[in-house]
């Protein structure tokens, strides 16, 4: 237990990072698979998209693609070091997923107007559900991460 704990504490940041980027990659994947491909709610390109929206969308797409793979390799790396801390990792996952969705739902959909969640409907309820869910994920993630940070300090004190 003590060795497991020591390696977890040594890799607090990597646990958080790998959860965060996998969470981001996961929601980006859901977004692409469910909303773009299956439901056809989102559009590939919305005629009202300004250039900055196109750039932001492109960078996030590339980043989420990379994150998904890199995040999975980081989990493998933590596991071979016996340092994977699922609780902290999950906190990171919620932060990454919620944070990205909140960014997507506010900045990208509303401010940059890349595309809307759905077309030809009253959009406000969709936006509220989307953003509130994202905020809940983000807050829950932050709480878990702070708690694991404290747990790690307490354990260090007793060790």
């Amino acid at each position: 237990m003590s060795t497991n704990h020591a390696s977890r504490s040594a890799y607090l940041g990597r646990n958080l990072l790998s959860g965060c980027i996998l969470g981001l990659g996961f929601v980006a994947f859901i977004d692409e698979a469910v909303f773009h491909q299956i439901l056809h709610w989102h559009h590939f390109y919305d005629k009202s998209t300004p250039d900055i929206g196109l750039v932001s969308d492109g960078i996030f797409h590339a980043f989420s693609w990379f994150s998904t793979v890199a995040g999975a390799f980081l989990v493998s790396d933590l596991r071979r070091r016996n340092a994977w801390w699922p609780k902290r990792w999950f906190g990171g996952f919620l932060i990454g997923g919620g944070g990205f969705n909140l960014f997507d739902g506010t900045i990208q959909h509303k401010l940059m107007r890349i595309h809307q969640i759905r077309y030809n409907v009253e959009i406000a309820p969709y936006d509220w559900v989307w953003n509130i869910l994202a905020a809940i994920m983000l807050i829950a993630g932050l709480m878990i991460v702070f708690r694991t940070g404290r747990e790690s300090k307490v354990m260090e004190g007793t060790a």
Binding site: F44, Y45, W65, V69, F73, R81
Partner: protein
């Protein structure tokens, strides 16, 4: 590359003639493998397979039905470019041609070659930033200027553009993943940033093409072509990302009980 669509009957021997360089390139690789096997350990079979399939996927873009259709059809053009600029380089890199060449050459010649590879110009071209600007920047120039429509009317320009697409794609691939001999290796963090930004620029360009068709391309064709570039690119990019991360995973393996990251 100026195909004459009127004389269908005379096309077949012509096509065969065009296929000759590709056959030759495969044979040379095979020969080098066999020769170097005399004084080194066996060159692995899978490398021959990678070389063969890499040359084939470049050939698909340059000769045959896809290349012929690509003159009028932007969708076919885009499929061709995916093969030529992305898939072929990825396959060819796995054949490690430079490593094979080095072990086939005599020591003296190999030393000279290695000096060339370490020379300043080659190192500049193989720098991840330079290679990705040549690769993705070249594509931006091709599709956002008059170059695309000009290329369809000038056979020589057409050849030069295709050569550039392939070569820049190859340089880009060897600058990101280190499978073959590499004169200078750059850090994972630099290559991560370059990789993400270049993939982003590729995705942005495909949506840009979707919205603003290049000269002489209809809006329907631009939609199809843009989406092929975006989603087809995604498939090959995920392979590139996977290989890149796998190399990090191997390089970062814990060697002692007290391990240091990177």
């Amino acid at each position: 590359m100026n195909h004459n669509h009127v004389h269908r009957a005379s096309e077949l021997p012509n096509e065969l003639l065009l296929a000759l360089p590709f056959v030759l390139v495969i044979l040379i690789y095979l020969l080098f493998g066999l020769v170097s096997n005399q004084c080194h350990k066996q060159w692995p079979i899978y490398r021959y397979i990678f070389w063969g399939s890499g040359v084939l996927s470049a050939a698909v873009a340059l000769i045959g039905p896809i290349a012929d259709t690509a003159h009028e059809n932007f969708t076919a053009h885009m499929v061709g470019h995916l093969f030529l600029g992305m898939l072929a380089p990825l396959l060819l890199v796995h054949a490690a041609p430079m490593t094979l060449l080095m072990r086939t050459l005599s020591v003296g010649h190999a030393r000279k070659l290695s000096r060339v590879l370490k020379s300043f110009p080659v190192r500049i071209y193989c720098h991840p930033v330079v290679a990705s600007i040549l690769n993705i920047g070249g594509l931006w120039v091709l599709y956002t200027t008059e170059l695309y429509s000009a290329m369809q009317h000038h056979a020589l320009l057409h050849m030069v553009v295709h050569f550039h697409v392939f070569l820049a794609g190859y340089l880009y691939t060897i600058s990101i993943i280190y499978i073959d001999l590499t004169a200078h290796r750059y850090s994972f963090s630099l290559r991560t940033i370059v990789l993400i930004l270049s993939l982003a620029a590729h995705g942005i360009l495909s949506k840009y093409i979707y919205a603003y068709p290049p000269g002489g391309v209809t809006i329907e064709q631009a939609h199809m072509g843009g989406m092929i570039m975006y989603y087809g690119g995604d498939i090959i990019e995920i392979c590139l990302i996977f290989l890149f991360c796998q190399q990090w995973y191997k390089a970062a393996r814990p060697r002692t009980s007290v391990s240091i990251s990177h």
